[in-house]
Symmetry: D2
Subunit: 309 residues, 4 copies
């Protein structure tokens, strides 16, 4: 039902991540370097572990693109594991094994235990954790770069920034730039790029870094909240006619399919649950012959404050 279909494959310490994206139209301009820029953004981050430094991920395009333009055929991507040499023995594809250092103790907060039981892999939980790793998201980012190439031609942009980490809040900085939220999500993303923690100003950045330092001192980790913004979205994506075509539901699935994501809100989200309907529902006004929503608390179903574009 969706035009775009995609799979990723690949173990965290295997030779490479693979991905196939099926359904892109022909004629889109795509550069491997565009995908690499998104991959670099993913690797950015204050206090990231050593793996992130080793990686320097690069997307290799092996199908679906010729002379820099999509052919309409499926696009295949590979992101090589730059540390594969260190792992050829333990992640060997040819028969052999067992690993001399199997993973026997399931880690809390991971799929190790459930996955090990489901797939009969308790003798070496590495058989599970290699695929359950957040490393898989590198391929999602690369495939997302292909989708971004399509959205760009339609004038749609997507950006994100960090609203909070642990108890440190950085959401106020968002109120300073309403025009980025309304009209230019790409500029929003570039603004966040200036911050090691993807906050929107220097003060917020300091606050978030201090929170991370404090957790690190306790040898602990932290959660956080990100906001994703899309601008230029035309009216009418998704549909109300069948449960699995609802845009809210599809966005929610995509978000909660990312490891470690445990909640998603659209627009006001939970805050809306503590509000009156008159506060939550975005009014529709007739201005200059056009119907316009005068605010956008619902991550508008119309997709845009202006309806008659």
């Amino acid at each position: 039902m969706s035009r775009l279909r995609w799979f990723t494959a690949g173990e965290s310490h295997g030779p490479a991540l693979s991905g196939v994206l099926e359904g892109l139209p022909a004629g889109l301009h795509v550069l491997a370097s565009d995908l690499d820029r998104d991959l670099a953004r993913r690797q950015q981050g204050y206090g990231r572990g050593g793996r992130m430094k080793i990686e320097k991920d690069q997307a290799q395009i092996t199908a679906g693109i010729r002379f820099g333009r999509t052919l309409g055929s499926p696009v295949a991507l590979t992101v090589a594991n730059r540390d594969w040499e260190s792992w050829t023995e333990r992640m060997q594809i040819a028969p052999g094994g067992p690993d001399a250092k199997p993973v026997l103790v399931p880690r809390p907060g991971h799929t190790d235990l459930a996955g090990g039981l489901k797939y009969g892999a308790t003798a070496d939980l590495r058989d599970i954790l290699e695929r359950a790793s957040a490393r898989e998201t590198a391929m999602r980012v690369a495939l997302g770069g292909l989708a971004r190439a399509m959205l760009r031609e339609l004038g749609i942009h997507i950006g994100s920034y960090v609203r909070s980490i642990g108890h440190a809040d950085a959401s106020e900085a968002a109120t300073v730039h309403p025009e980025l939220f309304a009209r230019d999500a790409e500029a929003l993303a570039l603004l966040a790029d200036h911050s090691e923690v993807r906050a929107l100003d220097a003060e917020s950045t300091q606050r978030l870094i201090a929170e991370i330092d404090s957790a690190r001192a306790r040898r602990d980790t932290l959660g956080g909240v990100i906001e994703v913004v899309a601008t230029g979205v035309p009216v009418g994506l998704g549909s109300h006619v069948q449960w699995d075509r609802k845009l809210d539901g599809r966005i929610a699935q995509a978000m909660l399919s990312i490891p470690a994501m445990k909640a998603v809100e659209l627009g006001d989200g939970f805050a809306g649950a503590r509000s009156f309907g008159s506060e939550v529902h975005d009014p529709i006004a007739l201005t200059g012959g056009q119907l316009r929503r005068t605010r956008n608390r619902a991550a508008s179903r119309a997709g845009s404050p202006t309806a008659n574009r």
Copy 2:
């Protein structure tokens, strides 16, 4: 990929809602009256509008069941519109029209505007709002009753209650009954049935009702938060291997495909984002030769605190 596939059809004031559920195994015991009990629960509620009283929904089974047991073939359900006589003219299926009282003004908080533009129905937004109506959820409830019949045979139960309405909180009542949350979601649902607002005790019920009364006095509406609990879930539902098989994502899609739902959390959800990892991740302990999770803040990926069942 999912065994169970389903569609609903039907306009809010059309002759009937229809539903087909494909993929149920043969041999499950199903009574239309079981489905009607769930439909009655849906119609319950303090301060509900007149429609809810007219309806008294009843599910009619027309396929897939013989002598009270599923055949393995698709089950078809119908929920008639008990007020159809009043609407035969305005919702006429045969050629005719236009409606003498078309809906021309899009309502905030609804799909009217976006849907009208998408489907070319601005001349009468009724063409949109009839399908976008929350009435559609009556068929989801009835189809859900079929799924419940399957889960029951597997010892899995699902229940829910209301945690808050507007600013009125009713979540504390939940802490009184930890055993219902751990082992008996059906008893939890029955407990909530005693309350007009599906709270878990009388005091919470009063608080939520007062909030509703206050909004009604302002001629306004309110949001709220519900919690859904599943007990008896075996280890290993969903999978980490591909994005669209992740259980969290599929639950999130189902939840946010319900009209008016704008947020979903699993386990601690957003609270987890304000916590240290050590607080959020559920420890795994070896007790009496069994691996057990000693708490369940993640709406556990293992699906259960006990791993080796």
Copy 3:
């Protein structure tokens, strides 16, 4: 991936067949009587059993259409079983049973045996044969009528006729009307409607009827071959880019999902396997500034002899 998704439900002697078609655009003109005309065509036929006379199938539309036009929402159809009164006891939906006259002997040429084993229904094979019955195709015909309404607006028409029954061949009559095959499949269908056996002329009709009479005298049954023709098909349906988007494959699946169908050819089909490439491949010629195929033995991938429309 396909815009149109559909399910049927219903047992042969149950209360009704149900169907849902999801994905039709808004604004198509649909009359229940159009669907009934197709249903009547299905019931036509020399030497058909008693069931066909009882039925006089009629499609009831219960969703997705208002004032004779589609809303873009799913269309739900019901075809009632006109003989349901005789079966209420044996096909009872409420608990009860077992049937006093269970079906214990699996019939050759049917799913009885395999289905009974798969679904654990050997105690009464009626649990299988009711759904495996060719009666299910009545709902396919009705849903097909909805698809036909969409195709009609695009100038695409589909027709069919009988090429052979048993050893009696009726394919020569097809050569008399090349224009119907090239440009007017609907007129082709109407021509076949004049024949009790859907042949294209009186002589063929007599030959096919004689073959049926001869089989009936032996108390035996016969197979046959039908040809389906589509005209007005634009270039570019389906796609070469992924296996499950190939039009040939999707047509083949649809055809062989019909009970009793055991083979399908596109264009020359098996005859092409006995030919030289130069005989099989349809030449492309430049005529008056247009690329045209000068014949159509491949049920052309271009969908049409004229390519540059």
Copy 4:
């Protein structure tokens, strides 16, 4: 709905073909050399063009397998284009172009014309023909080797041979080995491996080769017919309950999604259309307490002559 989902990607003269197979269970034994054996079989053939000699295809596994066994995660395969060096310029992925020698003339019998129009690629039909090429089937063969690893553990084997090429028939040789057809499709495949044209005996092989030589002398090509046999298939694959779960339909789709395939028969196929029902339907007999089909003209729906295994 199907457990196994798969995509291929890759242009004929691009750097590599890629494939992802999602849904394999954990614990299957897979060797890259097993896949290579199937790839070698695909490259075999009397009178094949030069490309086949260059290729010597080898499957590289990059995901989903560790120490020779599947992990339950998606398996990713690559088959490199051994002649890539000669094509780096004309199939360049980075921006550039146009190709100095664009393909401007659409070939009969190919997707060139329809694809070029659909995807806006008439300025260089190479953008279409690279993906539409039969080279894509190399990845299908490799992915099929993974499926074969699963079937092998279930005792299911699949083999094939050539029944005819042009007017030269080789089907009689099949009658000499009824036991291979009934019980050992793998041995059948090995027998065909001895023939340059995959016939089942030396005399047939000579006949088919003579036919090819004769066509070559005319500078023409030929079609043919292959038969695919599966042995060890358990009762109950597929289902009668919904159109898209019917095994016949799914096999037909898979077959006709292969380039150049224009027809498919199951069991007697078209011959059944010229027969009496009593000749076609496979009798079910009770022998020694077991229900058995005494012949198998239907490519039995029960999947096997013995029903009560």
